[in-house]
Amino acid sequence: MADIAARNPAGHPTQQRSSLHKLMQRKSTIAFLMALPLILLITILVAYPAGYAVYLATLNKGMTRFVGFGNFEFLFGRDTFWLVVYQSCLFAITAVIFKAIIGFVVAHFVHNIPAKGQRKWRGMLLVPWVIPPAMSTLAWLWLFDPSYSALNWVLEGVGLSGIPWTGEAGWARFSVILVNVWIGSPFFMIMYLAALKSVPEQLYEAASIDGATWWQRIWYVTLPMMRNIIAITALFSLIVTFANFDIVRVLTAGGPLNSTHIFGTWAFRVGIEGGDIPLGAAVSLFMVPILAVAATFILRDITKRGSEV
């Protein structure tokens, strides 16, 4: 380098080529080039549709005129919209809480099964999560069927009256949450199980020598050690559950009387079935700010704790 610089003190072409060469050699440049395919993919599949949805949401029903925030103003004035907001939150939060609790408890059970039989149980417990939800929800649909419900048949068999699983607002909400919990719990189970396995056994031994009871070991050792995994899993599940479509669509299609609609299904109803694509786009855009807030809070906590532990 020193040689070349000495021979061409003012040689522009060489300097240019060498600076390009330098640029190519910089680690950040290489990193950018390697990440480029993914960046392109995300741009095409995520950024463009998202931008297009924002654009659509500003058009009128016939998609001929720009209406600004007109669609949003219209939504704010409708009771159904607020019902959907309420139901989406109820659905996502309740389902995530139950999935987390059930996943945590089941993970503990599986963790305590001797290693030999554990694989078998892990495999079986993952089944609900592995089956495509649209298919497994069909099975639930039959279990909930007003005329042929196997669940009601059992209830009536033991002398109780049948339950209108999908026919009454309260029970319909319960049913969609139940099916979502059934499908989603194994994911929590497997994440928590992995986290449990990464907690060194000696910490529990140290805690039990320090005088901790079974419950105190969970509270002071397990939970703090799993905090990050619990937060990430909950956030991830909250996003997926909030944006759920298939379960509600197959099980109740939003009924009875819109009482189980969530953002995804209502956007579909309004946009595709109702033929008002801009309004549907506006509905689906409401998920963004809610999820962004949740993501910020949880991820901030993770980075904070990540630097500590």
Partner: protein, 366 residues
Amino acid sequence: MAQVTLRKVVKKYDEVLAVRGIDLDITDKEFIVLVGPSGCGKSTTLRMIAGLEEISGGDIAIGGHVVNDVPPKDRDIAMVFQNYALYPHMNVYENMSFGLKLKKTPKDVIDQRVRQAAQILDITELLDRKPKQLSGGQRQRVAMGRAIVRDPKVFLFDEPLSNLDAKLRVQMRTEIKKVHQKVRTTTVYVTHDQVEAMTLADRVVVMNGGIIEQVGSPNDLYHSPATKFVAGFIGSPAMNFISCQLEQAAGALRVRLNDTLSFPVPADRTTRYTPYVGKPNLMLGLRPEHITETRPHTEPNQHDFDMMIDVVEPMGMETLVYFTVNGREICGRVNPNAGAEAAQSMKLRADLSNMHLIDDSTGKVL
């Protein structure tokens, strides 16, 4: 008072006997070291005292109370683990105070005891740090602090220095000894390092294959080992074992190693060894420091012999020489200036007053 008593303690994993019925009395304030090769059952024994392993048979008593079915938290013990087992999400202060907090000790008492222990261990300025921010030696101190703060009946150490580098290990060894001199709590310490065992212990328990080979003070074990295993395990470089025969000639006993090499047995051992004259499977045990270069002396039990040296290892303060007798490699320790050279003959001296005669079929030192 916190004596620890083990009576016929057995540990069985499925069909494998890890500990085969050991008896041990540890007196109050004593520093006991369990030492042995890996798989000898020393850690299992410690974990049974801690209550982390159920015992399959026998009794363990702490302070006179049988604790067989008492969970670890109610045994009033503290344990220091090999990898420290500090809670990574708690700072040093929280780590040390955790046990007291669970016992609902008043906050001011906790604070006083944590600071006192921190002072003993010289970690006061680390109290706000997380374990991640500490070096290996500092973590080790915190783990000890966590034990001291509890003021338990018994301290249990499970190979606490194995994860440290050699220099730090020596330093922490002294530290542990100092702490024990200050705190005087009954201590059971497990290690595979015989140097650690010798330097720390009031009494050393040598274990092998799930049984106790010998219990005794470091000096007892070194000078009067009860078995071939103890003789070979304690001391570095290890004791030399040479197959030999005992013969009686003109009223005196001789240890004959081979046709050319034999030494008279010290007079004070004649009566003790006479029954073994002509018996097979005998071995002479002689520590390397009792094979030296020849020098002027008046000792009756030192005998010179010529030997071809195979290997010479200069250590600085001494030189190790290796030679072969009866197909076995024998080690001697000579003065660095004695002129030892490989593949050269050298005049060496064996000090038979420190000899051991071993029955190789039973492994007993006679």
